[in-house]
Symmetry: C2
Subunit: 478 residues, 2 copies
């Protein structure tokens, strides 16, 4: 069999669980990436290579001895390869991917102390080893047919170079879903890591990000650190050209709207209506990641009530939070700091002024999106931010979006939203006030523009545009 497509990512499209306690049952993951690739893989032959993330994954990987296997999940058929990377998983995933790389591209470090700068060599060796395993599987699956190779995200930065070395002619695209950072900030990481990450990604024909901001930052890294030459979107390094550009990955609108029409969402909407009790709703929906800026969001709401007493008792701030990485001390401390500010707000302005809800409850989130008067999306920095798109798509209340200008989504939504500097609590408080006091005509105009922009870049369009550019780029190379 000849593959037309080989996809590789840290997390695969299928997960396994034991709903009745005995047999492992596959189920499809959510999100635009899975939707886009799954649709393509129903029409074309291809393999999806991913890393085993938990014991259930590892059990499935062992059944197939790390080789390819077919599986069907919720009507979609896949050929998968699932790689058990053993003891390398912890340092690859927790230390290098989610700590060193994540904190760096989101510029989260507190420079005097972090990163501590010790233990890097061993962790980095594990990351390279996992990337090597993934690249080997990709090369095996690619075979001799010369399929398109689509690699995903910051977990696999060194893999493209290894694939390129084995398959010099392969059409190779790498999509980075996170932000990128400035040269001097990237260079806080060890030299060998920075060099390998940049060289790795520059082995692709197309290197894609979710915003022009991150493309520009990456091109500057290539120039300043590697001495690469840039010409418009193109980076030339060691006789190879890489087009570095952005593709919008929007919300999965069809599945979103289908879910939103469910009875559960209607019931959640009625409960929310009772809780609101005539008040207006300022909503936020986030994983409790350090990059999401929940703390300054709460302080902004506090300052809103402080400066504009007319909103006291008339507005409810609901923060629907999905606890994330609570095994990492910084994440626990951060959530605790948020809880303390929320308590202070309740002491100052009444018990019902603010609610931090820590349960993953999609019907309530969808009902909130539908009903909210203001949606607050203020990450310190974000690759794109899907909440900023899903909210306006479901909203039926001409809700206003207050949005960080440093979220990748601001490139599309910035004109229709009220944009803020996420570090500026005062400015954010005033944006909330402006949103709550905006006249109905402007609200309606902005809501219409938000919906239009948020609907762009369906998963299918996203993938189609990337593959078109990949083919054109490879045709020029040849």
């Amino acid at each position: 069999m000849t593959n037309e497509l080989v996809v590789a990512s840290n997390r695969g499209p299928v997960g396994w669980s034991r709903p009745d306690g005995s047999e492992l049952v596959p189920s499809r993951g959510a999100g635009g990436l899975v939707t886009a690739m799954s649709d393509a893989l129903q029409r074309e032959s291809g393999t999806w290579v991913s890393v085993a993330l938990d014991d259930d994954d590892r059990e499935v990987a062992a059944e197939h001895a790390g080789g390819p296997f077919d599986v069907e999940a919720e009507g979609a058929r896949y050929r998968l390869r699932l790689l058990d990377v053993g003891d390398d998983f912890g340092p690859y995933y927790n230390e290098v991917s989610n700590r060193l790389l994540w904190f760096t591209v989101h510029e989260l470090w507190g420079a005097p102390y972090e990163p501590a700068g010790v233990g890097w060599s061993g962790d980095w060796e594990a990351y390279r080893s996992v990337n090597r395993r993934v690249a080997e599987a990709v090369v095996e699956e690619a075979g001799r047919g010369g399929p398109e190779v689509l690699l995903q995200d910051y977990h696999l930065c060194t893999a493209p170079r290894l694939v390129r070395d084995a398959l010099p002619d392969a059409p190779l695209l790498h999509y980075v879903h996170t932000p990128w950072t400035q040269p001097s900030y990237l260079q806080r990481l060890p030299d060998a890591m920075v060099d390998a990450v940049l060289r790795g990604l520059l082995a692709a024909d197309v290197l894609a990000f979710s915003s022009p901001l991150w493309c520009r930052a990456f091109r500057r890294c290539a120039e300043d650190i590697l001495g690469a030459a840039t010409d418009g979107d193109t980076v030339e390094f060691e006789d190879h050209r890489t087009v570095v550009t952005d593709f919008v990955l929007g919300a999965d609108q069809d599945s979103l709207e289908q879910t939103a029409r469910s009875d559960e969402v209607a019931a959640a909407g009625r409960r929310l209506h009772d809780e609101l009790d005539g008040r207006r709703l300022v909503l936020r929906v986030d994983r409790t990641d350090l990059s999401k800026n929940i703390l300054r969001g709460l302080r902004s709401f506090e300052m809103l009530l402080e400066r504009h007493p007319e909103h006291r008792g008339a507005v409810w701030h609901l923060a629907q939070l999905n606890p994330s990485r609570q095994d990492v001390p910084e994440y626990r401390d951060y959530l605790q700091a948020c809880v303390e500010v929320a308590e202070r707000i309740r002491e100052r302005f009444g018990e019902s002024a603010v609610t931090l809800s820590m349960e993953s409850d999609f019907p309530r989130v969808a009902a909130g999106f539908r009903r909210s008067d203001v949606l607050l999306v203020n990450p310190v920095v974000d690759g794109t931010n899907l909440v900023a798109k899903e909210g306006p798509l479901l909203n039926a209340n001409d809700g206003v979006l207050v949005l960080s200008r440093t979220a990748g989504a601001a490139d599309l939504l910035g004109e229709a939203a009220l944009c803020v500097n996420p570090y500026d609590v005062e400015q954010t408080a005033e944006a909330l006030h402006a949103a709550l006091t905006m006249d109905t005509g402007e609200r309606a105009d902005r809501a219409r523009a938000l919906r239009e922009a948020a609907g762009r870049g369906s998963p299918g369009d996203w993938l189609y545009a990337q593959r078109e550019l990949l083919r054109a780029t490879v045709a020029r190379r040849r």
Copy 2:
């Protein structure tokens, strides 16, 4: 009287104290800036405008009602204006200058929490007000003669625009002694502040930094944030051209060598010899600033002893620290963290392995410079770093310099030093090992090259070069 030169800086060239408890006695400050300007002001007529920093300054300012006065200190004569800025001083100096601007250009913030983003408007108003006071005094002193106006540093970022508005033809130079940062990092500050700082500095004819790194960062800020056009060194914004370039301000070699020949330094050298007791000396000399990276320096020394047991008992790490800003909690906590690592090193490798000395003791510092086998200068980032120059100039032991590549001084000294990524403890430990095991021929070659490079940019040359460029730039403008 017509001035040929007007200088303005936060701290003036003269301080006052009461050595015998009664009368205020003036004394000259130290440093290259004071040396350079003082020499010029003995030959040319001019005024130095500065801010009253303490009660003694304020008393002197009141005596002259904020107007100009003449004073003689240690053989140099000055015409000064000392401005008592009242309650604006705290927010201008502590909050905006030393916190918001200093932390930002040194990229020290821990993004999830800092800066908190509250209380900015009032502090910023005070900063602008002090800059207005300074600019007004500069304009008064400039009179109608059209003298050269030389403004200094990050305390006075908005003053150049005010001077320019009043004196459209004035030859205007601003020197920034700190590093500069990338656009996205600068934009963590409030929009109004960023805008005013950039526009303020771009009112100068020449904007000078201490390293090409900071010039490039500034030019990118002007491009990305203001949409200014750049062409080589020149930034064009609103029909005005500013040359943004770097000038090396080296050590004040003459006065340094004179002090080093004193009996006190000789005595300190004998005491150091006894303390060393045949061991080799790894020295660091720093203010305890968060940017100086003392903590990772200590961890690097710890890792050196861990990985290379041959240095245990054979090397002494002396950190000669000058406590700085200990009224700021972050600075106290940081120093405490350093003390704890030093204690751990002593527990692991013996009581005499490391000494943190917290006294300001220049004879001991000079004796250390003279004697050290390795000088460790590893700031996370630094405008230039004078220790990296003074050390090699005084060293008589073919000492090796281990230097952060992100210190401005690395531009000149980088080839002769062993350069490190200041975040990389492992790399720094290995650089210390390489320095301690370097053969004598290479040590001598590098020491010679260090001395040659460290001697460049005498205060007089530094000022001369700036004024030459200023005149040429103004001639082109006219």
